[in-house]
């Protein structure tokens, strides 16, 4: 059975220890977390966890069942194969010496990014998009010297039915 990346959206009680139950479930059972993003929803009693994980169909089925079994988990959605919108934000600190500054700004513009911090020899650029877009800009900026990046991990919602 082939492994595939899945994007899960999990609604949980907004209580201390809940994230630990979920992370503990993954480490205890040897499942993989590729990215994880947690924050409150409109209802402050509920948090949404957006997670990317990887596994064959039998493992993914177990992951969803095991998550559902946790008393603090309200709902598990598997977005993979569904219609959804997904975004991730990345902050990129890139070396920007005089002769490269214009080129870096052009690239940032093409990707609809923003320079959020600027120094004598660097820019910090904010980009939002899906995984492909972020990978693309990272590979374009790499030749200039990327010093650090910080990524949020994916967040996603189902598209409304038309």
């Amino acid at each position: 059975m082939t492994e595939k990346r899945h994007l899960l959206s999990i609604l949980v009680d907004n209580e201390p220890g809940v994230l630990s139950r979920i992370v503990g479930l993954f480490s205890g059972r040897g499942y993989n977390i590729e990215s994880l993003c947690v924050a409150e929803t409109m209802d402050p009693a509920i948090s949404r966890i957006t997670m990317t994980t990887r596994g064959n169909p039998m493992i993914i089925e177990q992951i969803k069942k095991q998550l559902n079994k946790l008393v603090n988990v309200l709902k598990v959605f598997d977005l993979t194969g569904q219609e959804y919108v997904q975004r991730e934000m990345v902050l990129i600190k890139v070396t920007a010496v005089q002769q490269h500054r214009a080129e870096i700004l052009r690239i940032t513009d093409i990707f609809r990014g923003q320079v959020v911090d600027v120094g004598q020899d660097h820019f910090t650029i904010k980009i939002t998009g899906d995984n492909e877009k972020i990978s693309a800009i990272l590979s374009l900026l790499r030749p200039f010297g990327i010093r650090e990046i910080a990524r949020t991990g994916s967040i996603a919602l189902f598209r409304e039915k038309k």
């Binding site: 009680d13 220890g17 039998m58 177990q62 069942k65 095991q66 079994k69 008393v71």
Partner: protein
Amino acid sequence: MSKLTGAQILMEMLKEEGVDTIFGYPGGAVIDVYDELEKTDINHYLVRHEQGAVHAADGYARASGKVGVCLVTSGPGATNTVTGIASAYMDSIPLVVFTGQVPTKLIGNDAFQEVDIVGITRPCTKHNYLVSDVKNLARKVKEAFHIARSGRPGPVLVDLPKDVVNATTNFSPPGEISLRSYNPTYEPNIKQLKKVVSLIRTAKKPVVFSGGGVVLSKAHEELTEFARKGQIPVTSTLMGLGAFPGTDPLWLGMLGMHGTYRANMAVTDCDLLISVGVRFDDRVTGKTDEFASQAKIVQIDIDPTSIQKNVQVSVPVVGDCKISLRQLNELLETEECSDRAEDRQEWLAQIDEWKRTTPLAYKQEDIIKPQYVIDKLYELTKGDAIITTEVGQNQMWAAQYYHFREPGRFITSGGLGVMGFGLPAAIGAQVGAPGNLVVDVAGDGSIQMNIQEMATAVQYNLPVKVVILNNCFLGMVRQWQELFYNKRYASTQFHHTPDFVKLAEAYGAKGLRAKTPDEVEKVLSEGLAHPGAVIMDFVVEQEECVYPMVPAGAPIKNMLLV
């Protein structure tokens, strides 16, 4: 509405949940709870080690069908419960464990006897709580009992900081609760059940494979009716023993690593495996690729995570075992099944053939054979005793040679395999089913892991009987070393073992010993008839092995036989 302290609220909630028995051990963090407990009618059993309290509550729960309850202090009191909790979690036994905790303002400060027991037990409880406000106490306790006993049962831990126990609040009972994120599925999908019936109709070589879930949901009568109606032979896991009568002609014996020849062969050869309340543990399946590889597999279980976890299933049914089997029986009722016995003739004849050629066997010669002790125990108790076990060879021989006819009669640490389980579990079972004969089948190794509980048995006049199959070895590990490590007995031999007869006497119990085969019956008769707690020490063959045996990871048809 009246103002009560946390400790008083806890007592009110215990009464509301029908708790009349607690196993525990006091300490600084729970001294106020004990002070209130003393004023109630609840019977508290003071054990000698907190691990014993949890195993006793486990044995109590299995023998009585109620939720087992423990009360221990913070820090080491709490950590000592972990093995018992993990065992109950693996075996799906409903427990509520109350642990003391340092005052909330000290939590996180490395206070005296502080430990993050909620963090420690997160992966081995069904759920757990740290009660940080006395206002939530009643509701959390109610939820704990609800979660422990419903769905697939399991242990729930409630951590009680000392200041929460002493704080006061207006108390009103929480009434009915419903948890929006916890709703076990009891009713099976009828479409799935109809698929099962049509598979039964066409199967030539079906087998029922029953497990602990059948015992837990008290589905034994429905299971027996189902098997007889369909003329389907039945095998079971260790945890499932007793759900189907061990004396019935359709009974195959236990399945797996130390299963009977006919059970392992029948499952390997069957064309339909109807599994009920099992989770396909590796000790049962051996190599999963070759487990029932000819068969369509049906799996009925209340816990969706048990389904399709280890083996591919053709027809999954999520639901309570009892309700599912009852509905299957109703569906089979409407089926044309008059000639079913005839359909099965060939298959049942094959099974009889396996049974005839390769039965469970041992030869009783000059030295006492451990199997002979269990045989005699079965004979003398007429199969009516509650048997608890330790873990290892003693456990397997008890499972093979004591033919359980009813559920709740075989109490063993199946999933976690805890040495030291049997004696405290026997104490709990004796409390939970007073008037029954309760026997702990032990080895000389495992009995020493919780032997201190003899004092508990004697203090509370609990007439538990301990049968020690004494071979001066950690027998099961020695057996593996004999078979797979060229007889290099690394650290498995006890060069010194206490005199168990004298030890029994020191605890105020009776001690007896049998050294020769002709003494076995006499010692058993005398010990079982004694009105108090007894240790019976049987000096058995040192290097006896449990057979059949499937080497770990091999297909279950590859059995080593005597």
